[in-house]
């Protein structure tokens, strides 16, 4: 019993103080950590590939008229899986490894993008998904239930 306690003390002594200085010193995430989703709106062509693959269904697309498409990204329920980055053919979406996302207002986690575009009448989108499994056998996109912005 006593030998065991002495051993336990030695383990603690050897490990020493390991506590990190965060938040007083910045602590970068590991390389490859996914983190926050950022959108480069200049590169985005509005193809909707990300909306098709998003498991959390947080990227929703509405065509309000033949020329205007609204892409809303409800990043409050984003699960940071990085699928949108993977399928984006135009390099517009990135997960930048930022994790300090805490906020006092849920609206801060919302990205809306209004695109002036023409939609392909044939299939409703304009990109080739990476694997056949990602090619939806159904056309069109999930309906954005909150278009009036009541619950953002």
């Amino acid at each position: 019993m006593i030998a065991s306690k002495i051993r336990q003390i030695l383990i603690g002594k050897r490990a020493g103080s390991v506590t990190l200085k965060y938040p007083f010193e910045p602590r970068p995430s590991e390389p490859g950590y996914r983190g926050r989703v950022t959108v480069d709106t200049d590169k985005c062509v509005g193809c909707g590939g990300c909306a098709d693959v998003c498991p959390a269904r947080c990227i929703l697309i509405t065509d309000v008229s033949p020329f205007i498409r609204i892409i809303r990204r409800y990043l409050d329920r984003c699960i940071h899986c990085g699928r949108c980055e993977e399928v984006c053919a135009y390099d517009a979406l990135h997960l930048d490894g930022e994790y300090e996302l805490a906020t006092t207002d849920r609206k801060d986690l919302f990205i809306e993008q209004k695109l002036f575009m023409g939609t392909c009448n044939r299939c409703g989108r304009c990109y080739i998904p990476p694997t056949p499994l990602d090619r939806l056998m159904v056309v069109g996109f999930r309906k954005d239930e909150d278009l009036d912005g009541e619950t953002i």
Binding site: G32, P55, L136
Partner: protein, 571 residues
């Protein structure tokens, strides 16, 4: 020597006494047989008792849009012979009743209650037909897993309805554990019947965490989206769910996964097991009031989490799987860090285990507590360290090899103690085995040429094909069944987590003479959710008084026992 079983011998044995309507064996390791409705119980009895199969799960499917019928599948597993099989029965929508198999196989209790709740198939002769999965007051006649139920319809709940709890034995005090202010983990409610400090029985109400995952899977999300949904079933062992789901789809669709992807899957799974077991070791120490163990084992665990973040891009929910393979490669630059973390964890865990294994007070808290015999393991269908701590050597990694486990050398750690201490030692042994496998995986990766990480995927996954696959999770065997469907999504997806069987076995562990102070660690020893230990309500019926025990009181009870043991130690 027991006779070696094959799918043919199983089928032959069943055909002797039961008219088998149809049978199908896509591979030598899989068997589906269809039997008449009135002979299901008999068939299951033969498989369970005569052939010593292990009961896995029951699945109810609404197949009306396809063939106008309902379907029930009872799954069995023959671990020695690497065979998994299903007994299939079709039910007419006009007569939705089925004879219960729970009297023969106690472990089927929950699964049958669940199909009663969610699919609306009435199970006749069930010893405990109370509701299970749905919230209290859910309207009768609405069954969420039927195809005509929209996934997002929330019917009004009847607030007057409460859960019909079991009547306690006369003179017993009822101690309610949970669910209202759960602190640590998932909410669940246990009602313990106590006589003084001795537990004489218990009752369970869970499924506060029911998030409609299976319904989402077969109505809204597509094959590749479900991988990430599956991962979020459990926050500690998410990768096992996604791997198991991917393997089930791959089996149904006949997708071949490249070797490199399989090795990466194994590596990540073992990494997950290391962090999960260290986490459990810490929490178990915390429960018995030995916070030193909690802090030290979580300190050792932290570098494992950083390594996971480095390799996969997230600390938990690695999101590394896709149907057909994996998303990220592990490159040679990363090998050094994997090996050095493995060595560090190995050395430090070894030191810690050596230091605490002579701590007689700690051992006394674990030894002889929560006895679980091998026969009870078989009846309840318990899996994983819970079963292996009772000397039942079932391990999906060895018995039904998947990913790259056929290329790895490892031992299945078992212990004959049948108590909490045995289950602890099994988990500690598995940490070292996992570290060994991580090193082997790195060596394998060095030899395998860099190449595709995704297998060849057919243009369309054929509809109505069955696939089932299991993965050995840190807590036991995770089982996924997928029936492929139309429009790029499964028709039916069924998940059985290991705790589903293990929690059912907890009542069996409360043997005569169990002390209230031993309840938290017994519950903890199967590694379910600890939320239950957080808040208790004691209703002493004898004195018709009610008072509330909170987490710290319960821990105080638990800890004062620890101190008393320490005191005896000194004498």
């Amino acid at each position: 020597m027991v006779q070696q079983l094959t799918t043919d011998t199983i089928l032959g044995r069943l055909s002797e006494s039961i008219p088998v309507i149809a049978s199908q064996s896509p591979t030598p390791h899989r068997l589906y047989i269809e039997v008449p409705k009135d002979r299901v119980k008999e068939a299951c009895r033969i498989l369970f008792e005569d052939l010593q199969g292990r009961y896995t799960i029951t699945v109810g499917t609404d197949r009306r849009p396809v063939n106008g019928k309902f379907e029930v599948l009872h799954f069995f597993s023959f671990d020695r012979d690497n065979i998994r099989m299903a007994v299939r029965v079709f039910l007419d929508p006009d007569d939705l009743t089925l004879e219960s198999i729970t009297p023969v196989i106690p472990g089927a209790g929950w699964a049958e209650r669940e199909i009663q709740d969610l699919v609306g198939i009435r199970v006749i002769g069930h010893p405990d037909p109370r509701p299970l999965a749905l919230p209290d007051g859910f309207p009768e006649g609405l069954y969420p897993l039927r195809k005509d139920y929209p996934y997002n319809y929330q019917p009004p709940l009847d607030e007057g309805k409460t859960f019909p709890f079991k009547e306690p034995p006369p003179d017993a005090t009822v101690v309610t554990v949970g669910p209202f202010f759960p602190v640590l983990e998932e909410p669940s409610q246990w009602r313990l019947f106590v006589d003084g400090e001795i537990v004489v029985g218990c009752d369970y109400r869970g499924f506060y965490n029911h998030r409609a995952i299976e319904k989402l899977g077969d109505s809204v999300l597509t094959y590749n989206q479900i991988v990430f949904l599956a991962e979020r079933i459990c926050g500690i062992c998410g990768c096992v769910h996604s791997t198991s789901y991917c393997q089930a789809v791959e089996e149904a669709a006949g997708i071949e996964v490249p070797l490199r992807a399989r090795v990466i899957r194994s590596l990540i799974l073992e990494l997950e097991r290391v962090h999960s077991h260290l986490l459990w070791l810490g929490l178990a120490c915390h429960i018995v009031g030995f916070d030193y163990g909690f802090m030290q084992s979580w300190r050792i665990r932290e570098p494992v989490m950083w390594l996971a973040e480095y390799l996969t891009g997230s600390r938990k929910h690695f999101s590394i799987n896709l149907v057909g393979g994996v998303r990220r490669d592990i490159v040679p630059d990363q090998f050094d860090r994997i090996l050095s973390v493995a060595d560090d964890v190995d050395r430090q865990t070894n030191e810690l285990v050596k230091a605490i294994q002579d701590d007689t007070a700690l051992i006394a808290r674990l030894k002889g507590v929560g006895i679980f015999t091998p026969e009870e393991v078989r009846l309840s269908g318990a899996v994983g360290p819970t079963a292996r701590g009772s000397g039942v050597a079932i391990d999906a990694r060895r018995d039904h090899p998947y990913a790259a486990y056929d290329l790895l050398q490892f031992e299945v750690v078992t212990h004959d103690g049948c108590d909490t201490l045995a289950r602890t030692l099994v988990r500690i042994g598995e940490i070292f085995e996992s570290l060994k496998m991580i090193r082997q995986c790195v060596n394998l990766l060095k030899d395998i040429p860099v190449g595709d990480l995704l297998g060849e995927i057919p243009e369309e996954i054929p509809p109505l094909k069955d696939g089932m696959h299991a993965v050995e999770a840190p807590r036991g065997e995770v089982f996924h069944y997928v029936l492929t469907g139309y429009e790029n999504r499964p028709y039916r997806w069924r998940v059985r987590a290991p705790s589903y069987q293990n929690i059912q076995s907890v009542p069996m562990m409360f043997k005569e003479g169990t002390y209230l102070a031993d309840v938290p660690i017994t519950l903890g020893s199967v590694d379910p959710c600890f939320s239950c230990t957080e808040r208790m309500e004691v209703v002493d019926q004898g004195r018709s008084q009610s008072y509330t025990l909170e987490e710290k009181d319960l821990l105080r009870l638990s800890r004062s026992k620890y101190r008393a043991l320490k005191a005896t130690e000194r004498k």
